[in-house]
């Protein structure tokens, strides 16, 4: 979320209307004045796509297009950025770090193992600590949904969500939009198919929100364990199918997701079954539009959700996504520290 106001200590009163004419249950919730005790996140925070203004999304994408990682502007010289990673990461961590350093910032990496987090320090206290050592912004990845929101409510420096549990991964959605727009003129009317583990995927949630906001038509595909019917409530107009052929027909963009074995928590998915029904193969790819692109946020499990032939094929933009992560995150960091003009 980008927020216009900074005041941390000011509590926001939200008057949700005084007593409405009582009309049964419609008025049941309305007859109160709610007291909203939540502090506002600092300006420049990026917590999720859901509450991110469309104008801000466009501004970030424009800013990212202007970033050249080979000739970076030294916008963040002498600024300090803490990378707080409670969960494993290759792409996101390295690209945030390279983006920060390219802009001239100093970075420090804090991981759950080898830090006071192991000794039981709370998330908020860890935030205070990083603030006290001089961090100007915190990039956080955390296995618990909402962890960046919690931190942002207690800190007066921008908090950037680098993936929180199953909730959101806003920088990934931005770099995916950036990548799509390198290959397609507009998001409006694009047929986007997302195949795989939607339920556990923060990437799927962020991407659905961003792409549908700009008029893409989204189809989700996977077994009910991974694409429950409730997924359709995420954004308006979302469609679900259990048949990959139906999902692929006419698609402009195909996003593949990994089956997140580590988050399955009791749900049983049989690899052989999954491969038979949902694996992205070269013959299946032919069902999509001829100029369809294949995306994957990684990490890829070759031979499970996708064959090597597709990963390394001419329609794959998977490596581009990783590459585009750097300018996108440069834009996010520059914006966070007020340098995104």
């Amino acid at each position: 979320m980008f927020h216009g106001r900074r005041g941390k200590s000011s509590r926001l009163r939200l008057a949700l209307g005084s007593i409405l004419p009582s009309a049964g249950l419609a008025a049941y919730d309305a007859a109160f004045v709610f007291f909203c005790a939540m502090n506002q996140p600092a300006r420049g925070s990026l917590l999720d796509i859901e509450h991110l203004d469309s104008k801000e999304i466009l501004r970030l994408l424009k800013l990212a297009r202007g970033m050249n990682p080979r000739k970076p502007p030294p916008l963040l010289r002498h600024r300090r950025i803490a990378l707080l990673f409670y969960e494993a990461s290759t792409r996101t961590r390295s690209s945030f770090e390279i983006a920060a350093k390219a802009l001239g910032a100093v970075t420090t990496l804090v991981q759950s193992s080898g830090s006071s987090i192991e000794k039981g320090e709370s998330l908020i206290d860890t935030g205070y600590t990083l603030r006290a050592v001089g961090a100007d912004a915190i990039v956080i990845r955390h296995p618990a949904a909402g962890a960046p929101h919690l931190m942002a409510r207690h800190l007066d420096i921008p908090v950037i969500n680098a993936g929180d549990g199953m909730h959101e991964h806003p920088s990934q959605a931005l770099l995916d939009a950036f990548t799509i727009l390198r290959h397609k003129k507009t998001l409006e009317g694009l047929q986007v198919t997302i195949i795989g583990d939607i339920y556990h995927s923060r990437v799927a949630r962020s991407n659905c929100r961003l792409l549908s906001r700009f008029g893409a038509k989204i189809m989700l595909c996977g077994p009910p364990e991974l694409v429950p019917q409730v997924s359709a409530t995420l954004v308006p107009g979302l469609r679900i199918t259990r048949h990959i052929d139906e999902a692929l027909r006419g698609a402009d963009v195909i996003m593949l997701l990994r089956v997140q074995q580590e988050r399955l928590a009791g749900k049983k998915i049989h690899a052989r079954d999954y491969i038979a029904r949902y694996q992205m193969t070269a013959p299946r790819l032919k069902l999509a539009k001829r100029d369809a692109i294949v995306m994957h946020p990684g990490p890829i499990v070759r031979g499970l959700e996708v064959t090597s032939e597709v990963v390394d094929g001419s329609q794959s933009v998977i490596v581009d996504e990783v590459r585009n992560g750097v300018p996108t995150r440069m834009a996010i960091l520059a914006r966070a520290l007020g340098k995104g003009k």
């Binding site: 004045v33 709610f34 007291f35 709370s122 998330l123 909402g146 919690l150 909730h167 409730v230």
Partner: protein, 438 residues
């Protein structure tokens, strides 16, 4: 803290000018009430009570009701006094109009012996209102072997329960109901099939999906209530009380049991008839409780059940937690909220004023209903000779609840800053005024 002993034995108190609502006695009229020696001495039409009283309570313009009974509170003693104590918790109860509370045994250690039950009732605990302990149904609430129900009952336990840890094992539940039937002791079930709710932190639905949180399916509650009701129907004279019912399917099961004349009762919390899962908003841990806030349609079913008599009692599930246990990631936050001081205000504001449930029925849910559920003889009604437990409230008074002013040791409530209509102005326990405010 004052105890009943420091009070004169023949003290009398006249509650004058109020409007008595006593659902059990079918009274809903202006009445004066004379309390003497801890009992109700006389209930009469206005100005008909002759003779003096040591003290008078001017109840003009106010509602007078039997002392409220909360059959589900966590006062955290023994072992977790940093969250709450019996002294703090019963002070909060008094401020909420409750003259009696039934305490849950999931403390540290678990209240699974007669010694601990007796300990809870000792005067040293500093209770301001009546405390009726519930004891664990299985040893250590581990769900594998029953506790000594008879000894627990002799020590003063009014029911047995493994609250927070449901009794999943069919056979153990059957044994508990059987033994309970022999002793006329209710078995209270926290109905949750924990095999379906592992790692879950809220209700399963669009909101949990939106937030990326694992959701507890409504079926996890309903399936256990279903099973328990079937067992209760089969075991003669067994008494099943379903704690904090939160889903429409579970209410259907309760109705089935009642229709089949099984001794099945249930309670609903104020937060479940007030809030829904969407109120979790952006990970508000003050809206995290178990059972979780449910869907709007579940809440509607709850309102219907409160109105039609399916629900026997409003119980708060008062669950205090320290600030550091709530100011953490949503997944890691403790389940539960405090509720004693906001229960009546929510009931009047929501049930009576917004949903148009008659005040008589609302009061029944705080008095006659819970008294019947746990057989609290001489309470829940102000018939002559009953205990002199009285709650006096103003159903019109508008006020704002400030969590910072709560008498509980913890302030984990989602109702901070809420404007209510309806306020408790006096609580009397055993003839003694333990709470009074303007």
């Amino acid at each position: 803290m004052l105890t009943a002993k420091s009070h004169k034995r023949d003290a009398s108190l006249l509650i004058k000018g109020g409007h008595l609502i006593d659902p059990a006695a079918k009274i809903n009229a202006p009445m004066d009430i004379l309390l003497r020696d801890g009992r109700v001495a006389e209930v009469a039409l206005p100005n008909k009570i002759r003779g003096g009283a040591d003290e008078k309570f001017d109840a003009r313009g106010l509602m007078v009701a039997p002392g409220f009974i909360d059959v589900h509170v966590h006062l955290r003693e023994p072992g977790q006094s940093y969250k709450e104590t019996i002294a703090f918790g019963t002070a909060a109860a008094a401020a909420g109009g409750f003259s009696s509370v039934c305490t849950m045994p999931n403390t540290s250690p678990v209240v699974d012996t007669d010694e601990w039950v007796a300990w809870l009732k000792q005067p040293q605990r500093g209770a301001l209102v009546n405390v009726f302990p519930m004891a664990a149904a299985t040893r250590g609430s581990r769900g594998s072997s029953l506790t000594d129900f008879a000894a627990l009952q002799r020590a003063g336990a009014v029911a047995v329960t493994d609250d927070g840890r449901p009794i999943l094992d069919d056979n153990i539940m059957r044994q508990a109901l059987r033994l309970g039937a022999e002793l006329n002791l209710p078995v209270v079930q926290h109905a949750e099939d924990t095999r379906l709710t592992e790692h879950c932190s809220m209700h399963e639905g669009p909101t949990s999906f939106r937030l990326g949180l694992r959701g507890m399916p409504a079926a996890a509650e309903a399936s256990i209530v279903d099973r328990d009701v079937i067992l209760a129907q089969q075991i003669r004279e067994s008494r099943l009380h379903v704690a904090h019912v939160s889903t429409s399917e579970a209410l259907k099961a309760v109705r089935r049991g009642k229709r089949a004349k099984a001794r099945v009762s249930c309670e609903v919390t104020p937060h479940h008839f007030t809030l829904i899962d969407e109120n979790v908003g952006e990970y508000d841990t003050l809206c995290k409780m178990n059972p979780p806030l449910r869907s709007a349609s579940d809440r509607e079913a709850i309102l219907v059940a409160l109105a039609d008599g399916t629900v026997d009692a409003i119980a708060t599930d008062h669950a205090p937690h320290a600030a550091h246990e709530k100011q953490v990631e949503f997944d890691r936050a403790a389940f539960g909220i405090t509720g004693l001081e906001t229960a009546l205000a929510l009931a009047i504001t929501k049930l009576h004023r917004a949903y148009k449930i008659p005040l008589l029925r609302v009061v029944e849910l705080f008095t006659a209903g819970p008294a019947r559920v746990f057989d609290l003889r001489g309470r829940g009604s102000l018939a002559k000779g009953n205990f002199a437990d009285v709650t006096i409230f103003d159903p019109q008074k508008r006020w704002t609840f400030e969590a910072a002013n709560s008498r509980s040791r913890s302030h984990n409530t989602p109702f901070d800053g809420w404007q209510f209509t309806g306020k408790v102005l006096g609580t009397i326990v055993g003839g003694r005024v333990v709470y009074r405010t303007e």
